[in-house]
Amino acid sequence: MFAKLKQQSFAGKASDGNPLTRLLNSKYMGWVGLGIALVAPLIIATNYALNIMTTALIFVLLAAGLNIVVGYCGLLDLGYVAFMAVGAYTAGIIAKSFELPLLFTVPAVMVMTILAGLIIGAPTLRLRSDYLAIVTLGFGEIIRITANNLTITGGPSGIYGIPGFSIGDLDLDQPVIFYYITAIVVSLLVLAAARLSKSRLGRAWRCIREDEDAAEAMGIHTYKVKLLAYIFGAVWGGLAGVLFAAHLSAVSPKSFVFLQSALILMAVVLGGMGNMKGVVVGAVFISLMPEIFRDLSEYRYVFFGLLLIVVMIIRPQGVWPTRNREPERMEDVMDAKIVQEARA
């Protein structure tokens, strides 16, 4: 009824865009990514390459988990690595003391991380933005320092000699096999996280990110829904912790310093907050960067720092930002399908 003039400026734009954008937004890009991950070991199969690729995948999982909290729900979390710590320590301690294959610790890890998510989330979620940031940072530090001081966590040297995924004679810890296990687990979890964003819950998260008051007016119990974001984030982080423990066979407080949380956050923002595909790219980029610049040794962080600045200035929304577009009308989509089918 009101101004009609807006339409012409958008007409036609919604569906096309340049070919690159279209390609990037195609839903097949996810499969392309998975394809790359699966083929990579066939191209470079040194242990070194496998090791950093596995590390990168675990990092991808972390970023995917943090993306739920920060990207979808808009809660700035500067202590995310704490969830990975909880997962890794739980897995490590149980696996080591009961001589269990790591896989069997997963249920316990889930329970512990959900608990951690609740404990960390409950008091903090009433806070807004930057107060939340410092509190999560504080929690991250509390968990790390506690792990550093307790004997059950092995104190500062942590836990080492953690059994891997191997069950009986089935050797699942060979770098290649372990890489593939990681690739599959991570892909599934990334897919799940991406799907969550397009659901009722995901929508509620994004509403909270955009305007908490308005979200409440929609009947969204913001407190519960935020807590859920924390819990999902925590579970993803905890599972990353299990993979991490298996991969390094050692867990020590040094791996859970604030800088790690900052790096995961960087992956999320650099890749494009809220867009899972972007976040995956960001995570791969951030985790491989120090390795790519390895030969620059002491200068690598200078380059890394400069690169971060340059990339962000060129792509302030992230390398591959969320594109808020959807088909205009169901009928249009259906029509297009019918036309296609008719052509075929």
Binding site: L127, Y131, I134, G138, T146, M266, V269, L306, M312, I313
Partner: protein
Amino acid sequence: MLQLIWDGLFVGSFYALIALGYSMVYGIIKLLNFAHGDLYMLGAFIGFTTLTAMGGVTASMSIVALLITMMVSMLLTGGMGVFIERVAYRPLRNSPRLAVLITAVGASFTLEYSVAAIAGPNPRVFPIRLESDTLNFFGARITIAQLVLVGIAILLMVALNAYITRSSVGRAMRAIALDPKGALLMGINVNSVIARTFFIGSALAGAAGVMAGAYYGKIEFLMGFVIGLKAFTAAVIGGIGNIKGAMLGGMLLGLLEAFGSHFLGGEWRDVFTFSVLILFLSLKPTGILGERVTERV
């Protein structure tokens, strides 16, 4: 007891000085300037270089030399703060807030490892050291040097507070914080006010760097990291964006740490501090002096 309090306040005044810059920058552009702690480090290294360059003079008139050094360092770190804002933050002024957080981390890495590349990763030792007599104040040891440093810190803070709350530039800073576009329409040169904020905040960090170098003696390229986090914490405790809050927060954090490490042991100190912080924020979600932003619906 008195000793604990004094020690806490002394460390706290360093935190406060750095928290101020954090809070100012946050207050105006809502940026958690992760590079801020590194400006403190840079300030210390500039101080080191200046003193070394002055060579023999320093020995004879150490206080004067130190004051000159502090001025030089404040100017240069202030300038560096402005430069970083110009190249790494300003281009992102209309971008998502977290984007700038990332460039801030980038700036932090660049500063840290550039200094490491130029000055070497080894710690350096300040050419002069503030050593002085110890006073006994009801059983607490207080050195004159400490008194002088705390005095300088308080002076800087009071001056800054007056500047922000009284002057029209201070008001402009707050206006920009609330609505940059609205501020433009008031005829406020937003760029220059923001640059000025960065200059002041960074200069204070630079001053703190020189003071720390002269008092403790040791400086190294990562020295800004931990204290940067502390200052951030202090700023939040005080109510981020609030100048007086930053000062209070700094002092309070210093006290908490002193008491925490005394009664629970150094290994549990940060657990204690952060727990208190979390508890406190759960009760008062905007810090000591944070303004309750009444958002109208």
